[in-house]
Homo-oligomer: 414 residues x 4
């Protein structure tokens, strides 16, 4: 699990800038998606109940705004005459436009799912070759967000150019609708979307699907790195995705983010501390924060994690810089310890220590590491330190722990 | 070698679905092929004798139905005028149509072989550029199955798209005949057919050709993984192919299977226990079960293995889910121990323990591993357990060993 | 850090020759670039002040001639009517042509920067699809040098041919202007420019951007080799780039060089000895020597390094042969020791010993290693030896240390 | 170094067959080439002197027939009007046709060199885009053999298809001349020519250029395998090329061979025993045997090696099957020991034991390894054994050492 601090000083020199075309996801998108908890078993009610719960729990106040209907909303086939997509009339008796209107009426935005292939991953009709009519239909339905998957792509992968062209087709189709639709690419990191997608998409998945587990290796997620991984698979444990994310953080920025996959907080496969780590690391790596649990039925623990405003503020910080991993050290007995730090707006920094070993670890953390990027001056300053998982006197997250200089001494992480 | 159990409980949540176009191989195909035992030395008699033996031994009752004529059935060249394929008139004096009719008359189906290249692997004329006329001719001959190889492909490999296009050409040609012809791709896993082939083929080979040996490393099968292997080769030992199959099991399902290559059971290069392992693992990984021995001359041991109905039933289970490897542990002295489990229909599971080390191993197997995918509830249930390689009182495979809960304690595997 | 010697004897047999089209960079280019020190914070004054300093310090006498304006010189957009590139009128109130004239008036040459993508790395308009008008405009502006980057390339990478075509477009456009413009490719080594670029460019970067640090591993430069690296990144420590350069030295020669990236000497992240190593190794590997510090404000130490004429002469030697690494040995406690040697004109050789371990090392260096390429006769000759970092009686670099035969005995490197 | 034996029994079951189009190199080609000894320093005299020496030494009797003029025979440019290739008129005052006639008059065949690129490796004009006129001119000149290199290929590599098309262009052009011209591809193994070239070329190089050294690692030959090597380079030590060849032997056969590069026997960089190993291993791996020494000036040792008829007979054996490596074992102290065996015509086998460690090794060699491919019957037979590097009573190579069964006991290899 992790330790998190929040520090004050001067921001660093930014290497990459970028101007997004659709003006969306200036900070990482936040919302909720049906897949992780409900899979294919969705209906109008699933989505409206969740939307209502989001409102009831005041999650919108924290930034959660997109309600995303993932796979299996489809009828058996497209409309024969027009080729337009059609929803399953049993699950969605009032149609998608009606559903979207109701979601909008709750003050939320509405997202949909398709795949850049012949079929979706769930075997429904895909959008390959139907990008224009699908984007147009989504716009008519009032869709604000598209998660666009990679199944059954008919071999159209293997070089960045081949993947780019397939995904750019939908990007152009979405732009052509005139409606701002957040474009969330989900090609599992194939061919390096961090290289080719920054100006066609608002975010891109970097790996195979997340598994609701802390760090177990699973053969179905066989690659040891997302760089040139030829079988992203699924069942990728949470901490493995963090490890995957380390080298590609450099590629994210305003309007174009690395997507570490939807959150598992609240789904039951991890402990409270593990979910704290999960939510925190997703936050500082500037992943979209898309809830994946049943929001109509949450424990206080779950609610506490997903409404930690201090952590969310880091994710939504205007600087838009993912934290960088300063070092990673193998621990005898398995797992590793790693130090992460990132620059925020207003002369602030976030620092995290991640422990995936089975035992508690105690170390000193040197400012020469924490502020390696910022240089010697930053390394010798005095900082005010806040622990973002403790509450201050008013009950808000982020307790002032006093000041530090040179190092954090004797930090223990369980 | 392996231990096999069969358990009863509730099935898991399926990630991938799919609808095949030709309606074939809803469960993995079963049959017999000339290559492993006879190589190029085949004739009408080879095939008809085998077909007759399959009937005599009642193998059809167990599901073996395709009789497949592999390489070297060809005349020296195609028909000059039409370009149609022509059979060797010495080996097949009555032609292929006649042979096919005779096979059909025995209640069996008939398969043929070609290569997506200029030549077949045996140097006969290949189908590259002749897909249309070849598929049409096969249909006229009454062919029910095509094994389609990869030799002499004129460099048309290296990206999924290039390989896809070469193999999709034959898929479309077969579909265009109107005759249902099972399409068995054999491109040795190049460019990841598990990614690009699920909706053009009923099965795809994942590796170089099998060698009739348990686990010997051979330089002619040099890759350590089938993911992005650039030289699949041949002489791949049986247990190496099992290892290759672990990460790609996730890609198989109804109508589209990973093909671990034809069986060597009965060909003499392995012990009885090793062949038991071979047949069992092919079964639970949902590989096609294509016999490769001389079925006209079988020992009782061979016959016992290939007619274990309990094992075959797992292969043909309607759930269509390959077993997954839960863990793999290196053994001092070489080889490894691995645990595999898979969900079946009707609340059943199959569990196998594979030992490739030279010594006997004894361990506890925890239900937290076996039912990792199914979660905590499944891990705490009580199961009825059957050993599929023991016989019950009626002499059928699958002996009831009582119930288990929490773990299998002290399992020994020789 | 390194030890350097300079020896006298007969030159070796050259494997590769080449004729460059534009007649430039017969020896590696030398100059100064804004990026490493100033980043995006540049203006007319930045460049003119540096140019004036180069003249004042007499750096031209040592060969520094190109003054290169890196990223962020751009206006918000191209000229609407013509599509021609436009400079930021605040930073460059007199325009680029005027700036170029002033640089020329100081006896220097003027370089500019763009990217073979939709945007530059700093988010300004890129040249992809605008190669013709950009090259033409640069020529009109009196540009003598183009550094051509790789950001936002719309997926046009992944095979040598795709990258080649993108970069050859600009090469052809530059040639078409009729003005000799040195073409400095910066695609970070993707797809192996040492293979595809020798006759379209004068130099090519081999890795991600340099970091002003001796040898720290940084996750943002994740590849362990530049051969087939799919994420070159940035923050590549100096000694890591030396390691990257070892296998590709064979590909450089007159008019086509491996670019190890711009120098960090004087920027403060390394010690004096480390900068000596940096400058020396860049020199013997025949990298372009492009200063990256603030030349208007240099310490004597910095000045001493960048004006070591003996070292520069090796870089500019007419033989054009990068030094080769003869061996590399891991040192207990981390880092390694490596021996480098290269043939020069006039029967001379350069020899260097590089120590990246934390401790001092003492070894014998055998001539059977130093002159491995030259063979037995060269290994048994007597050589006059000069230490290029010591001064002779006249105060020039390169002190005669006497003669050696068979080996350098007991060499210590701190 | 190696031990070699020659055994008698029944041949194995062949996996791959093939029919070459030009009818050449049914067994691996033999001859002499200018490059390894003379590099660019060649002339009419170099070639004619060598040709005369080949005749004088009666090397033709052993099968050496091709006299190949490598790089640097070219004039500064092609013929302006026709585009046809032109030779250097100083080096070749009588032209190439005259030279070819003289070589033919000596009873030898004549080979030439070009590159599938803009330039040759030596910087002369290449054949890319000039395949037709070059092939036609070569045919007019009486050329019998083309070595076709890979330098300056303008990025046309990276997938098998791209490389195939570039090399197939010349193959087609050579066939179109009507003159049988042996086509020796030299693309250094890029993109796997063993996969794509068998029916367009008679041989293909598998690695970077050979270095006249037994086994020294050199950074200029950085790949650890030829499978998917992206920087073949040069300076590849002899024993490293043997290691490279092990997995690709399976791809060679009549008319299409793996080329391990030209021989260094006699060039001075290895000992007698090392050259014996070099020549023997090239032979049993069915590499073309192209001398690379100065045949006008040979020691008796060199002559003895290159005229060992027993070894040459194995290379030229009508079976055309490269030996296979049965095992490779690391030796403490560095290097390894490996066992190789191959089937020959007339029930014979060749067996070799290769030791690259610095010390002598003594082991038993089991027939279960030697005859692994042939199976149990072959493993239990009795064989007559000949040592091919000892002479029999008549002075011919191949001394009968008696019979063996089960194993070679206590074999020592120095």
């Amino acid at each position: 699990m992790s330790k998190f601090w929040f520090l004050l000083t001067i921001a660093a020199f930014a290497r990459y800038a970028f101007a997004a075309d659709n003006g969306l996801a200036i900070t990482p998108q936040m919302g909720w998606n049906t897949w992780n908890h409900f899979g294919c078993d969705i209906s109008e009610d699933t989505i409206l109940s969740a939307a209502q719960a989001i409102v009831n729990y005041n999650l919108t106040r924290f930034g959660y705004e997109y309600v995303i209907m993932d796979d299996c909303w489809h009828a058996a086939s497209r409309d024969n005459a027009s080729g337009a997509p059609v929803a399953d009339s049993t699950k969605f008796p009032n149609g998608i436009k009606d559903l979207s209107d109701k979601v909008h009426a709750l003050g939320l935005k509405f997202g949909i799912y398709s795949s850049a292939g012949t079929y979706t991953c769930g075997g429904r009709f895909g959008s390959l070759g139907y990008e224009g009519i699908d984007a147009k239909t989504y716009a008519e339905w009032g869709v604000d967000y598209l998660k666009y998957d990679n199944c059954y792509n008919e071999g159209r992968a293997g070089t960045p150019l081949i993947s780019y062209e397939r995904y750019a087709n939908m990007s152009r189709a979405l732009n052509a609708t005139g409606r701002p639709i957040l474009y969330s690419m989900c090609n599992w990191g194939e061919d390096g979307p961090w290289n080719f997608a920054p100006n066609i998409a608002n975010s891109w998945r970097i790996s195979g699907d997340i598994m609701d587990n802390f760090d177990r290796y699973d053969d179905r997620c066989p690659c040891t790195s997302v760089i040139d991984c030829k079988l992203p698979g699924f069942h990728c444990a949470m901490a493995r995705i963090i490890d995957f994310a380390a080298p590609v953080g450099q590629k994210a920025g305003h309007g174009h983010w690395n997507d570490l996959d939807m959150l598992e907080v609240g789904n039951g496969g991890m402990t409270f501390d593990e979910y704290v780590t999960h939510f925190s690391m997703w936050s500082i790596l500037k992943s979209p924060l898309i809830l994946g649990n049943d929001v109509t039925n949450m424990t206080n623990e779950t609610l506490n994690i997903i409404t930690n405003k201090a952590i969310i503020d880091i994710n939504q910080d205007s600087n838009g810089s993912p934290a960088n991993r300063l070092w990673k050290r193998s621990i005898d007995g398995g797992g590793d310890l790693s130090l992460w730090a990132g620059g925020l707006a207003n002369n602030c920094y976030v620092v995290a220590l991640l422990n995936t070993s089975p035992s508690s670890q105690t170390i000193d953390i040197e400012f020469s590491d924490v502020f390696f990027d910022q240089g010697k001056q930053a390394q010798s300053q005095t900082y005010t330190i806040y622990d973002l998982w403790q509450k201050d006197d008013s009950g808000s997250w982020g307790k002032n722990l006093g000041t530090v200089q040179g190092s954090f001494g004797n930090v223990s992480v369980g």
